[in-house]
Amino acid sequence: MSLSVQQKAPSHRLLTTDHRSIGINYLLLSLVAVTIGTILSIFMRIHIVSPMLKLPIWGVVPPEGYLALVTMHGTLMVFFVLTTAPVNGFASLVLPSQIGAERMAFPLLNAISFWLTTISLAVLLTAFFVPGGAPISGWTNYPPLSAIPAAGPGQATGMDLWLLSIGIFCLASILGAVNQLVTIISKRCPGMTLMRMPLTVWSWLVTAILILFAFSILLAAVVLLLSDRHFATSFFIPPGEVINGFAVDPHANGSPMLWLHLFWFFGHPEVYIAILPAMGLTSSLLANFTRKPVFGYRFMVVTTLLIGFFGLLVWGHHMFVSGMNPYAGTAFALTTMAIAIPSSGKVLGWMAMLWRGRDSRVHPLPTPMLFTLGFLSFFITGGLTGPILAQPVLDAYLHNTYFVVAHFHLIMAMAGVFSLFAAVYYWFPLITGRLMNERLGKWHFWLSLLGAYGTFFPMHFAGLAGMPRHYAQLGGSTSTLTSLMPLQTGISHSAFLLAATQLLFLVNLAWSARRGQPSGDNPWRATTAEWTPVTKGCIARYGPYEYRHSINSADFFQQCAERPEQE
């Protein structure tokens, strides 16, 4: 238990326990991870279309190098970008202020989770530099490929580092989730009842619960796998295992299926962990930029809770063809279809909010709003392929093809990242006191949108054509895949555009932090409490989205106000 709540004012940005600084540190960490992850994905795209090309630093990428790129790209993006940034980064930055608290429940614990996350990232990146290189078994790391060092290059030390890194990450996430959960439950300011919490806070609440469940399971799976690798147990190693001509362990009697179940019990909630904060943010931003209350606040809360609940029950839809009982496939197909309903409900709510129109005099489509619309577009596009993949009989054809790659890159990666961009553009004034450049922001949005659709939409066709993912090259003894070369070349070029566009974002960040237009206290004229300058405790007097009050010249009421002195 941390007792050193007693602390000095943060003398150093890095060693602080101040939640805003930690939030910024988390975001910078994610920025590093997303930069590396993007460069890796560019290398992948180059390798697919011209395998013999010499890359800078890397040289000619061998097939296992390609798989190492895939694995590290996936791990970086899923864990260190899509989990770290929306859940830990932005939650640390604004969650306490949004509920009117001055700090997190356990500030020191927050700092500890940040440092554990940093260590975890460092350990993961070390995997590139050890003999054998990074692991090659994809971010899902199915055993026995991941359980036996002889199964491939990178599966020895690289795999150990991966497991170590993820183990630390689990610990950091669990601690972070405990902190958020307690903060939300116990640190709300007077008047901030549950049904007055902003929808972002609801999302973080459900996310924290999911993290508590999912990451604990992943941690156990990692411990079991490490034990298989180093203590000669065989939880995941089946009998009669022969690798490279050598029988591994005659006494083994494990089951790789156990890993699949444990991993996906983590893996699917993980998707919602990444996307729920984005959903909450979308509701908030749409309300702000249309200057109308959230349409069906209660409905949004209920759907958030339902998505969180069903999110724990659908893991089997990743395993329809993995050897699971076909009856179980039916059950998981039904729960998966069920989760499509609250998700669709949310989309309908957002559309209704858009339809009520916006007051163009107030906001002529600023960049955060554009990115929110981008999120909506990707969420719809990626979401609509979900019901196809939820049908075992169709998934049996599309499973592990580019169709799935398109699906989750649109709904998780692009939707998630666009929402992150919206959040950065929206909350940037909180960090620096300046607005980001609108012109650069608009270019950034439209080019990213073009690049993202150009990259991921055609992947549906490659998937329908039957091209499996994780293929380092299109050749091989059968010729069907080579006909997809023009398509893949187009995808690669779009991906280059998408990546290059992000330079605009970096330039914008650097420029605006120093030269951006000063924002004032509440540049978006928002209601939620992070924009309310409060020095000494606050009190919530209104619901979170009190827009459209045009009576007294003010068209909105800030949710929280300074608490009157008493006693």
């Binding site: 089946p238 349409f295 063809v321 559309m351 858009l354 129109g357 499996p468 994780h470 050749g475 059968t478």
Partner: protein, 240 residues
């Protein structure tokens, strides 16, 4: 509707037509929704008028949601029916038995030979250089007439029962042209059955990342006429 859906390779299996039909309906329904949603987004983007009054949740949320729920329910039910007919039951007793074994990075296909029984395999005997990639036990009388091939040859119009296994890591047995996919999990034997209908050459791919040679773990399925199949298997048996 053409003989194959959009980008999908031509279907060569008996059960494939139903899958393709279902896929086509799904793609059409969801593509329509995709287009409608984006037209809506675009109109909302350029629309300047602000509706003063609140919208009715019934018309904007619940009714469309019910419509979507009906759509999802239809998808679930129709897909479930098909899934049940394809996967719930095992193969017919007279189906042609073939054992498929995945191994980094090669598929092997074993036919039981005239005695219709697979010989015993033992992991410690597995040795590809010695010509025994599956570890057939010579002590077992059933193994003598087993035929191991690197090409899967099946007679058209005759149901095939594939027992899929792996001896090292998880592989994915995927024949796009037959609309068939099943992971090969070491330590388990998974059975799938289908009836190839159209003679031809179909690629077999590995759909589950299995190591550095994953992309080149490909093989061929040859669907031939019944007489050709008899001749092929006889020739294979003689060569042994």
């Amino acid at each position: 509707m053409t003989d194959h859906v959009w980008w999908m390779p031509p279907n060569g299996a008996l059960h494939g037509a139903a899958i393709d039909r279902l896929m086509w309906w799904n793609l059409v329904a969801l593509a329509t929704l995709f287009v409608l949603a984006h037209i809506f987004l675009f109109i909302a983007l350029i629309r300047r008028k602000s509706t003063g009054h609140d919208l009715s949740p019934m018309r904007w949320e619940y009714l469309p949601l019910i419509a979507l729920t009906v759509l999802y329910a239809w998808m679930a039910v129709s897909a479930q029916k098909l899934w049940a007919t394809i996967r719930y039951q095992g193969a017919a007793p007279h189906a042609l038995q073939v054992e498929v074994t995945g191994q980094q990075f090669q598929w092997y296909f074993r036919y039981p030979g005239p005695d219709h029984t697979f010989g015993r395999t033992r992991p410690e005997l597995v040795s590809a250089p010695a010509g025994n990639p599956l570890g057939l036990d010579p002590a077992d009388p059933h193994s003598a007439d087993d035929i191991v091939s690197s090409v899967l040859t099946l007679p058209a119009g005759h149901e095939a029962d594939l027992g899929i296994r792996s001896i090292d890591v998880i592989h994915g047995f995927f024949i796009p042209g037959m609309r068939v996919k099943q992971n090969a999990v070491p330590g388990m034997e998974m059975h799938i059955h289908f009836t190839p209908a159209t003679p031809g050459d179909y690629p077999i791919l590995c759909s589950q990342i299995c190591g550095l040679g994953h992309a080149r773990m490909q093989a061929h399925l040859n669907v031939v006429s019944n007489s050709e199949f008899e001749a092929w298997i006889a020739a294979k048996g003689r060569k042994k």
